[in-house]
Amino acid sequence: MKYKALSKEAVARIEAELPKYPDRRSLTLPALRIAQEDLGYVSEPAMIDIAEILELTPIQVYDVATFYSQYNMKPVGTYLVQVCKTLSCALVGAASIVEHLQKKLGIGIGETTEDGFFTLKVVECLASCGSGPMMQINDRYYEQLTPEKVDQILSDLKEQGKSALATGPFMLPALQGQK
């Protein structure tokens, strides 16, 4: 069977996960993650491919994908900026950070800059409540944000592809070899 969207590697990675799970359907979440790593977002053809591999119907995959904000249902920029808007961060000014980002990037929430670098999202608690306001860009955290720090981070990323202001990875295990 040929797959429409997923790369051979992604299909192989999904299939390699199969033995770890009690049945195929349980693999929906990891399969979506692998698809997202493969394509940057979870496209409709990718969900059809996943359904084929897991012997589900496409809507069964779509159902799960739309429940979690972690899956991008549309293409995103090179850097996916997710700002926490939940209570602890909100109390210390998350809203002003979001506002600043919107102005700085010239986009609204859920949109991507024209140059394709940045996508802005607001999300629920990212479990870094003690050091808000905070945001996650791709796999890294940036905490105790101020507008100046945000400007620095954005220009670092745009120019060098990384920023020294990244905090963690104390909350996240090091993600080797992944974008």
């Binding site: 809507i59 779509y62 739309t66």
Partner: protein, 867 residues
């Protein structure tokens, strides 16, 4: 091992079965608990929080839909705390609800309306704007209005847990939660209508009857569907003489309230504008509309003339197996007694007779297994890979058995295990599926027989039968069987042992055998297989043969075939009349001069040229039908019959279960219930100068006809598999002629094997008059496996040319991909397939004369379109 539990609900004691949920126990105690997500057909989901109750010793309110009863439990369903919580839930639901009841088709039977009256507050603290969903087109049959949705997920769960189509999903979350199809596309599914029926509010409604009625205007008539042999109870809901919609009640009928697309959306055929509504006769080449009196006289004169000039045997009659028991009984009486001819046949000839004749030959009755046996069986051996399409509700019984009763399912069919995206498929659900080469069903039966014979045959097999089977199988090797079926010796042995060693094993057979080549012999061999496995004569065992027509079983039982008088009284060879095709051939020879066809159109169902030639030779052709057909166009008299919705009577489904159908509306125009027509004609045929027909009493009602029919059955009714089985078996064992020929190897030569079969969305020709169903499928398409298509570079919807080996005729058809087909095979559904059927090779059964013309080797080529 019933363990009963006693608990107290609102100070009233009730005793219920262990495992009962509090909401159900409360109902028994007379306390209806408000609910949305609970439904007796579904597993508890406890997502709506409407059904909260107070249970003593539990700190918080509990959802009564998911809490099981326990001994000594004390439950309050209407305490202040409970009412308060319910008010809260209602406030949330109503907060977002558009309250557009006046224009909602659910109005009047909506659970939200009902509970809002009981629990809703008059004011709402909800000050925010209501959420609104953009209206999206959800397809031609189902209307989706998500603003009304209460997110109970009953629809999604029904589609998953009961139907297995898995076409609906739950999307997003929070107040923007909604249900729908993949990526907001149009719905593609089995269209059983179940989600519409199970939705407690008006979020999913039928588009076929949108804004056509208010629920309280509807008159309800419970009756039985006429689209297949499953025998589903359904309710026709009417305003005056118009069917507005179909519904079904949870738990009611053999179907338990589930329906398929044909049952739910197929009612439009009844009031279709092309129905025949007036008797017509052809007089000096003029087509005249006449009164019934005139038509009756013409029929009687015509029949009498044929009898006088050529003798009664110059008359023949064929009746549809969608007619009621009473009608078939009267028709055979008209033919056998009033006319005096043995030539009477029915739609059961198109395959079902193979099952009935073989099973009664062996066991003395064809009533071997019922739906309850499917749930009781531990193992099902199914020779009907297309059961979802042909008999959707029996397929539900199988799905229920494997899901909820841990039943093992072995399927044997020329199909892949894979399913179409949104149509369930038994091979996909099977414990083990055996994919055989097309047309090798018989060889597969042989494989299982040999495997069980060499494995652990039942010690109860009559020894003479055992020896005969052994002798017949002797000398045929598994290699030969494998070269025919493509299935290994090991597979036959594994499945054979699995089936024979199961405590209770049941065989289900579908049209691939009943309408495959030599289906009668195959049925005998299957009967022997069930005896050899010891899987017959106990609950959860036996053979269930699937019927295509709603009354195929009844047609034979009522005497509607030349081989049986009413009650399966088998006639001796020399007493038997002609089968349908034999009548046609006799007409061609000039032997049959007058033919009476009721709901049968041989120009479509039998080889067309042969029939056309024969019909030309007739002196007198009577057609009684619902719609004009190729054959009615040639008739001397056309009588408009009544549809199942316009008459009363009985259908006997393929379990042998006889059920009443009831008149929901008056017959259209001047049409008449077929039984009344026969009743009058029987009297007319008796009329002499001295006894005018007005003096003769007709039947007062269908019940009077039924009584007489039952009286005509010397063995009584119904004949069940009982103590007589051993006697019958012993007699069969003594006279059986068990023959097995070494199967022909299956040779692939690059051509395709084409099967013509049934679509889930149609049944015969009648369904093609139902707009609900034609919106789903209205043309002939050829299904092929995507890999074959890719190899030949054929896109979906692209036109291809199909020609049959050994004939020059070519037809052009669009292609549809189908993952369930085996590579190298094609499928065309029969309802629009007249042209292709004309091209396929045709044979008949050597015993029963059942016509076979559904399969053939064809070649397929791209059509080169120049642009």
């Amino acid at each position: 091992m019933s363990s009963r539990i006693t608990l107290k609900i609102n100070d009233q004691e009730v005793t219920v079965e262990k495992g009962t949920r509090v909401i159900e126990a409360a109902k028994l105690a007379g306390a209806e608990i408000a609910h949305f997500c609970y439904h007796p057909k579904l597993k508890p989901d406890a997502n709506c929080r409407m059904c909260l109750v107070e249970i003593e010793k539990m700190p918080k309110l509990q959802t009564s839909c998911s809490t099981e009863v326990s001994e000594g439990m004390v439950v309050q369903t209407a305490s202040e705390k409970v009412l308060d919580a319910q008010k809260g839930v209602m406030a949330f639901l109503l907060g977002n609800h558009p309250l557009d009841c006046p224009e909602c088709d659910q109005g009047g039977e909506c659970q939200l309306q009902d509970f809002a009256h009981q629990y809703g507050a008059m004011t709402s603290p909800f000050g925010e704007t209501k959420r609104t969903f953009e209206k999206t087109y959800f397809g031609p049959l189902i209307e989706k209005e998500m603003n009304r949705c209460v997110s109970c997920l009953r629809c999604v769960r029904y589609c998953d847990e009961v139907i297995g189509s898995n076409a609906l999903g739950s999307m997003n979350r929070g107040s923007m939660h909604e249900v729908g199809a993949f990526a907001q596309q149009e719905l593609d599914c089995e269209f059983c209508g179940g989600c519409i029926q199970i939705c407690p509010v008006g979020a999913l409604t039928s588009r076929v009857s949108m804004f056509d009625y208010r629920t309280w205007q509807l008159k309800k008539t419970e009756t039985v569907c006429n689209y297949c042999g499953d025998g589903c109870t359904l309710t026709l809901e009417t305003v005056d003489e118009d069917i507005k919609r179909v519904s079904s009640e949870t738990g009611v009928g053999r179907n338990g309230g589930d329906l398929c697309a044909r049952g739910f959306f197929g009612y439009g055929a009844v009031n279709h504008e092309s129905r025949l509504t007036r008797p017509r006769i052809r007089l000096n080449n003029n087509d005249l509309e006449v009164t019934w009196e005139w038509a009756y006289q013409t029929v009687t004169d015509g029949l009498k003339a044929a009898i006088q000039t050529h003798g009664p045997k110059a008359v023949g009659g064929i009746i549809s197996a969608q007619c009621t028991n009473e009608e078939i009984y009267l028709f055979q009486k008209l033919m056998r007694e009033s006319v005096g001819t043995p030539h009477i046949d029915s739609g059961a000839r198109f395959g079902y007779i193979n099952a009935i004749a073989a099973l009664t030959d062996v066991f003395g009755t064809a009533r071997l297994s019922r739906y309850e046996d499917i749930s009781e069986a531990d193992c099902l051996l199914v020779f009907a890979g297309d059961m979802t399409e042909t008999n959707p509700i029996t397929a539900l019984k199988v799905k229920d058995a494997i899901r909820n009763h841990k039943t093992k399912l072995f399927t044997v069919a020329p199909y892949h295990r894979k399913r179409e995206t949104y149509i369930s498929h038994l091979p996909h659900l099977a414990t083990q599926h055996t994919e055989i080469s097309m047309g090798s069903e018989n060889a597969a039966i042989l494989g299982f027989t040999k495997a069980i014979l060499e494995g652990t045959p039942s010690p109860h097999t009559p020894s003479d039968l055992f020896e005969k089977i052994k002798f017949a199988v002797n000398g045929i090797s598994f290699d030969q069987i494998e070269s025919a079926t493509g299935v290994s010796e090991q597979a036959f042995k594994d499945i054979g042992a699995g089936f024979a060693n199961a405590e209770r094993g049941l065989i289900i057979v579908g049209r691939s055998i009943l309408r495959g080549i030599e289906g009668y012999q195959s049925m005998l061999r299957l009967a022997e297989l069930s005896i050899l496995s010891g899987q017959v004569g106990r609950p959860g065992t036996g053979i269930l043969a699937l019927a295509k027509e709603s009354n195929a079983f009844g047609a034979v039982e009522m005497g509607g075939t030349p081989e049986f008088l009413p009650g399966f009284q088998s006639l001796k060879k020399e007493e038997r009349g002609y089968t349908a095709l034999e009548m046609i051939d006799a007409a061609a020879r000039g032997e049959i001069k007058a033919l009476y066809l009721v709901g049968e159109n041989p120009l479509r169902s039998l080889p067309q040229k042969r029939v056309a030639e024969a019909l030309k030779q007739l002196d007198f052709l009577i057609c009684q039908d619902l719609y004009p057909t190729e054959t009615t166009a040639l008739a001397h008299v056309v009588l408009p019959g009544a549809s199942y919705a316009e008459k009363s009577g009985r259908f006997t489904n393929h379990e042998g279960e006889t059920q009443k159908i009831r008149e929901a509306i008056d017959p259209l125009g001047n049409a008449k219930p077929d039984w009344q027509i026969f009743s009058t004609l029987i009297n007319k045929m008796k009329t002499t100068e001295k006894v005018p027909y007005q003096k003769l009493l007709g039947y007062a009602s269908v019940d009077a006809v039924w009584k007489e029919a039952v009286m005509a059955m010397p063995q009584g009714w119904p004949v069940l598999l009982g103590s007589k089985m051993q006697e019958s078996l012993a007699a069969y064992a003594a006279r059986a002629n068990v023959t097995w020929l070494a199967p022909e190897p299956f040779v692939k030569n690059g051509a395709f094997d084409l099967q013509v079969g049934q679509s889930l969305f149609h049944s015969g020709k009648m369904s093609t008059y139902a707009t609900g169903l034609t919106t789903l499928q209205d043309k002939m398409m050829v299904l092929m496996h995507p890999e074959d298509a890719e190899r030949l570079e054929i896109e979906e919807e692209e036109l291809v040319q199909i020609s049959v080996e050994g004939s020059d005729a070519v037809i052009e058809l669009p292609v549809k991909y189908s993952k369930k087909l085996s590579e190298g095979t094609l499928f065309i559904s029969e309802h629009f397939a007249l042209e292709i059927k004309k091209m396929l090779p045709f044979t008949t059964d050597s015993t029963t004369g059942v016509p076979y013309g559904d399969r053939g080797r064809v070649s397929l080529a791209k059509v080169r379109v120049s642009t």
